[in-house]
Symmetry: C2
């Protein structure tokens, strides 16, 4: 099977796992559950749960426990998009080629659906911990998950991003931009690979290496996103292009230009692969997946 | 010491616990942490953590572990208020006599501060589980906490509440109203007492009794809230009165009238006290606290 088909198959398998854990659309809370499901089952690439699963396999992990964390992480990623798209945030009407959650359900229900997804992530992790054969690893994975998604992780990055939008461009330093990328984008990718390692029994030093690999991948992924915002089309990307320029947004591309941005993506990706090769075990698919992030078109 | 002074002292002690766990206001994420702290340290009554602590003591609990859950629960309660006050939800400018979080920090940062508080609750619980002498109890407490705050608990109730606002009054059935009260208001009070019991080693049947007591208290609390919205003043309540009528909101009071509402509060409270007396152990303060909910003026 070629790589792209394998990615598609794995994403479809992950979608089945997500469906298994999503709540049933019933009762007086039906509307918010519909909005949760609409948000999660929106044709995402499932990059984060896929990275978690493949990292888990790299270290020989074979238990179902990883499914809980894959699901929780994708729910957290999804809620962050739902809230980010709200009228009081980025006010985006489209994502991945279809209407955003608030555009369909209204901002009130979209706010609640985001809250419900973050809360449900904690519920799913609670199940994981109760059913874990090794509760310490499960608890450690929980710490990493909510640490990376919280105020010293993803939410911190989103905050800095929101605040920087009101600042004149010349006040956005390289340091601030990298803080935003590290936390808003890389943090959940770090969580993905670290949790894959932790659950499979990787030691602390190895988990730190995974964090570094994921950091590189995350930053590369974000810079690639900014490149695509300039060079892609609505059809390829599934959302309006040129939004960064319209919003006077400082990006790696606006600071350094397209060519330097493209070579930074390549450098980060190569460093990630070099670090991956220092790890015991082999996972050809994981390596191809990391590499594919350089070349992605959407 | 009289009861009111004791309540004040205990609330002050809980405030110190909350401060211990709240994140430091530093770094690029400083603004959202300020908004989190502003939201949490807003002179709330600390009823939920107080009920948890007193229930824990009722069953002889003496460990610090309860502090993590008291903090997490108050953070969850607080985030729900912050999001509830947003322009896309209730659009309230005042709460407890001071500006709401979005009125001070804007709706974008208020959305993120709410998210950060819910996420931080999970971080605090992760610490609790890692440090627990009895991890199974800690995990069970986590399940109850996020179950009661989630889509089949508080968020479910909020959803039904939001949706019912768009319905003609005659479509709001007693059943729907009680669903909203049970989930939007009672669920976190149930979590408070159940977790106090679980952490102190109460058995399943006792935890169910605690849930029933808390349900009664929660519904009584909500009906009392609706009564005060009609009979109180801005000064007493710290927020505008008459908002339910202005918003054409169906409440227990609008369905049954003030007198029947008041007697229902009394009935529920008495049933709660009767159930409390069936439990082993004694906690005079807890009994007074539950009773005080009948007579509260704000």
């Amino acid at each position: 099977m070629d790589f792209n088909s394998e990615v598609k198959n794995k994403a479809a398998d992950i979608e089945e796992i997500l469906k298994k854990y999503l709540p049933k659309e019933e009762g007086y809370q039906k509307t918010v559950i519909e909005a949760m499901n609409y948000s999660v089952l929106s044709g995402g690439k499932r990059l984060r749960p896929m990275l978690m699963q493949e990292t888990y396999r790299l270290f020989g992990g074979e238990d179902d426990i990883v499914e809980y964390y894959m699901t929780a992480l994708e729910m957290i990623h999804t809620y962050s998009l739902v809230h980010d798209d709200l009228p009081c945030m980025d006010n985006d009407e489209y994502r991945r080629g279809r209407k955003t959650t608030h555009a369909v359900y209204g901002p009130g229900i979209a706010t609640l659906a985001g809250d419900a997804l973050l809360n449900y992530a904690a519920e799913v992790v609670a199940m994981a911990i109760s059913n874990a054969k090794e509760p310490e690893k499960a608890a450690e994975a929980m710490k990493v998950l909510f640490g990376k998604s919280g105020v010293f992780g993803m939410i911190g990055g989103q905050t800095a991003d929101v605040i920087s939008e009101d600042k004149p461009c010349e006040d956005i330093t390289e340091e601030l931009l990298m803080y935003i990328h590290k936390n808003k984008t890389a943090a959940l990718i770090e969580a993905a690979m670290m949790i894959g390692g932790i659950l499979a029994g990787a030691n602390d030093i190895t988990v730190r290496t995974l964090e570094k690999i994921a950091y590189n991948v995350g930053i590369a992924f974000q810079i690639q996103d900014d490149i695509l915002d300039v060079t892609s089309t609505f059809e390829q990307l599934g959302k309006p292009i040129g939004s960064d320029e319209r919003n006077h947004k400082v990006t790696y591309v606006s600071l350094h230009g397209l060519a330097e941005a493209a070579s930074e993506v390549e450098r980060l990706s190569e460093e990630a692969i070099t670090l991956l090769h220092t790890l015991p075990g082999e996972n050809v698919f994981l390596e191809e997946l990391l590499k594919s992030l350089i070349d992605r078109k959407n």
